[in-house]
């Protein structure tokens, strides 16, 4: 996927987002989302344990980390799809703790899912229309009287058509979403999220399963979101993409934030390299020194 990326124009990176040295939990000049002490355990496993993190406004922030680092769980917690054991987090200064998912979305924090949740037996256009908020016709009684919602629905349709054109899905608007390819579903899901004019868009692995031919247009769309004044937070594995479009990178490992910073600098960070490649030990497990192996075993026994 990564090597095919040939940017049309070098994206304009936002800088000066943080206050002081970049370190896990660093203060931002203008944070849109702040999480404090968010912790989630499953049985004996700690999935997320984030002490403090701030997401800068009107920037593209990438949340990266190896498999099982707790990125998606953290996403779920932030958007009300899961409940943390402890912690507090706020969006534009309003606390989100105990707010159900649908209300989080109404506040302007819209997310997508790692495995696309396109509504297969609805047409592409219906999928899009569903994304619009404050629809008069979504009330059961007003829905009965078309004259009350027809005009608004037409406006929504125009807007949806506009977005579909941008995402090159307009030719498919009357098809069932189920008939789209994996990549097109990702596009649809992103386009649908935009229907509600969100302030913060959270994308969970927007590139996963996307045909390489589509990755460029996806990237452009994400950059476009920032250009339109939105804030983007995304989880991604593709490092090329992260370096290419992200203004800020937050690295998670074992549920914690281990590093934050500018994408190019973060990649040099020892903690990040360790998170990805495994901790850099002085000892070599492949060494022939059996005494050494014994030492590690003792260490392990001590820990128990």
């Amino acid at each position: 996927m990564s090597s095919e990326i040939t940017p049309k124009a070098k994206p304009v990176k936002s800088t000066g987002l943080h206050v002081g040295d970049p370190a896990p939990g660093v203060k931002k000049v203008d944070p849109i989302l702040i999480a404090d002490g968010v912790k989630r355990t499953f049985g004996g496993l700690t999935a997320v344990d984030v002490e403090h993190v701030e997401i800068p406004r009107n920037a593209i922030t990438a949340l990266i980390g190896p498999n099982g680092a707790g990125k998606t769980t953290f996403f779920n917690l932030l958007t009300g799809f899961d409940k943390p054991d402890t912690g507090d987090w706020s969006f534009e200064g309003r606390s989100l703790a105990h707010i159900p998912a649908y209300r989080v979305a109404r506040m302007g924090l819209i997310r997508t899912f790692q495995l696309t949740k396109s509504l297969g037996l609805l047409s592409v256009m219906e999928n899009m229309k569903l994304g619009a908020k404050d629809q008069t016709g979504e009330n059961i009684f007003r829905g009965l009287i078309p004259s009350l919602w027809r005009k608004q629905d037409r406006e929504i349709e125009d807007k949806a058509l506009d977005l579909l054109k941008r995402f090159k899905l307009d030719a498919k608007k009357d098809d069932y979403a189920a008939s789209l390819s994996g990549g097109q579903r990702k596009l649809l899901e992103m386009a649908r999220a935009l229907m509600s004019d969100p302030t913060l868009v959270m994308l969970d692995e927007p590139m996963a399963g996307v045909n390489p031919a589509l990755t460029q247009s996806l990237l452009d769309h994400i950059l476009d979101l920032k250009a339109q004044g939105m804030t983007v937070l995304f989880v991604e594995h593709d490092m090329h993409m992260v370096r290419h479009i992200a203004d800020w990178v937050i690295v998670m490992a074992e549920g914690r934030v281990v590093a934050e910073g500018d994408p190019h600098e973060v990649m040099q960070d020892q903690a990040v390299i360790d998170a990805y490649l495994g901790a850099h030990h002085d000892t070599d497990l492949g060494s022939t020194d059996t005494g050494h192996v014994e030492a590690i075993k003792e260490l392990i026994d001590d820990e128990q």
């Binding site: 499953f42 049985g43 496993l45 099982g68």
Partner: protein, 442 residues
């Protein structure tokens, strides 16, 4: 069809009752599903009734002795009439049309120490092909008024345990099937009925010795489970039919099987040999019949055997493994389809046994007897936690005890309702059931 009995009266109390029914219907309770009716075709020569063409008749006896002066009433279709038994214990009431009536035996007119079997003092009776319908009441020895409250509680608890144990037999099978395949099997009711019907066929109709009839019934039950999986469920699993579709298929199967039973066995209730033995074995305040004792004994032994199977044998452990994680079981070299086949055979066998015991507990064998307790079995499984075999056992005992003990303060015909209400309440507070765990792995 004029209701002659009930004249509209605008009393405040009635209105409150009405409101109570409408609003808190869920917290109230009702009658046991169709009570047993003994249909023996034609009984010995009844006194002719000139007035009406159709008539009910019966003979009230206790331990071979005719009971005289017992009040019998017939109600229904806007008609009601009553009569008393004659010196031979016989009674006859004519009715104007061929329809469904309720026949009630007034317990207060029975001699001291004799009672009608629990909840069966009123019987819904319908005419078959003849114009004469025999209605029998099953009498037993009992102390209706004289038993003190504590003794009643003890008696109910023992009875509840008995009922709970037989429910558990059915519930564990249902739970195992759910655990290994994800199917909520509504046709489990028909597996229950099947066992009892087979004993009826071989033990009564063909008059084989009871022990042999029971063995044959159990073998056939197991064979039915095998056949259902081989002919229906396995092919559907192969097709990748979704779980909700499978559940609806099981409803269709339930309907088809149930009415097939009715087709062949008719709508009446029959008794298995020894079903009406007196409760003459006393343990302190508790009076039991031999059948009760054997039933409880068999339940306990079989449940222990099932527990042994699940906990100690290789296949049993594999069954639990498949319930836990079927792909991993397959990756361990377990043939998942074979385990599921075994579960179906075991589940059907246990259901068949539960059916036989249920036939003695009710007592009576009828085409829809399994369906009458299906919801209780579901309640037991859900209460214990969907898919956990031991949860099903615990849930069954709770349901069984609740159903029986609640008759102390609820009318006996409302006892099933209480258990279903409990189910709803438990789901409200602990949706995973009592023993269910929410485990997330990895």
């Amino acid at each position: 069809m004029e209701p002659t009995r009930t004249v509209p009266t605008r009393s405040r109390g009635r209105w409150l009752i009405l409101l109570g029914i409408l609003i808190s219907a869920l917290t109230l309770s009702g009658i046991a599903a169709s009570p047993a009716v003994a249909d023996e075709g034609g009984t010995d020569d009844p006194a002719a009734e000139e007035e009406y063409e159709y008539f009910f008749t019966g003979n009230v006896q206790f331990e071979g002795e005719a009971l005289e002066g017992v009040l019998i009433t017939v109600e229904g279709n806007g008609f009601d009439a009553e009569t008393e038994t004659d010196a031979d214990g016989r009674w006859t009431i004519g009715v104007p049309e061929k329809a469904e009536y309720e026949v009630t035996l007034d317990q207060d007119t029975l001699p001291e120490g004799v009672v009608v079997l629990e909840g069966q003092d009123t019987v819904t009776a319908e005419f078959g092909l003849t114009k004469r319908k025999a209605v029998n009441f099953f009498l037993g020895e009992g102390q209706r008024v004289t038993v003190n409250y504590f003794d009643q509680v003890v008696q109910r608890v023992v009875s509840g345990l008995n009922f709970g144990l037989l429910l558990a037999l059915a519930a564990i099978g249902l739970s195992l099937i759910f655990g290994t395949t994800g199917l909520s099997n509504f046709a489990h009711a028909e597996l229950i009925t099947f066992g009892a019907l087979m004993v009826l066929t071989f033990g009564v109709n063909l008059a084989w010795p009871l022990w042999l009839a029971i063995i044959v019934a159990l073998v056939l039950s197991a064979a039915l489970g095998w056949t259902l999986d081989a002919a229906l469920w396995k092919p559907l699993r192969r097709r990748g039919v979704g779980l909700i579709q499978l559940m609806i298929v099981s409803i269709g199967l339930s309907l088809a099987l149930r009415y097939t039973y009715q087709f062949f066995y008719g709508g009446s209730t029959s008794q298995l040999p020894g079903a009406t033995l007196p409760s003459d074995i006393r343990f302190g305040a508790v009076a039991l019949s031999w059948v009760d004792l054997v039933s409880m004994g068999v339940s306990i032994v079989v449940l222990l055997a099932v527990a042994f199977f699940l906990l100690r044998t290789r296949i049993g452990k594999a069954t639990r493994a498949v319930s836990d994680n079927a792909p991993l079981a397959s990756a361990s070299g377990i043939d998942v389809d074979r385990v599921i086949r075994i579960v179906w055979v075991l589940g059907a066998l246990l259901a068949g046994l539960a059916g036989i015991l249920w036939a003695y507990f009710r007592p009576g064998v009828s085409w829809d007897m399994g369906f009458q307790i299906l919801l209780l079995v579901f309640a037991a499984v859900t209460l214990g936690g969907l898919g956990t075999a031991f949860g099903a056992l615990v849930g069954s005992l709770i349901v069984g005890l609740f159903v029986e003990v609640s008759t102390l303060w609820l009318p006996s015909d409302m006892k099933y309702v209480g258990a279903l209400v409990i189910l709803i309440v438990v789901l409200l507070f602990r949706p995973q059931g009592i023993l269910g765990r929410r485990e997330r792995i990895g």
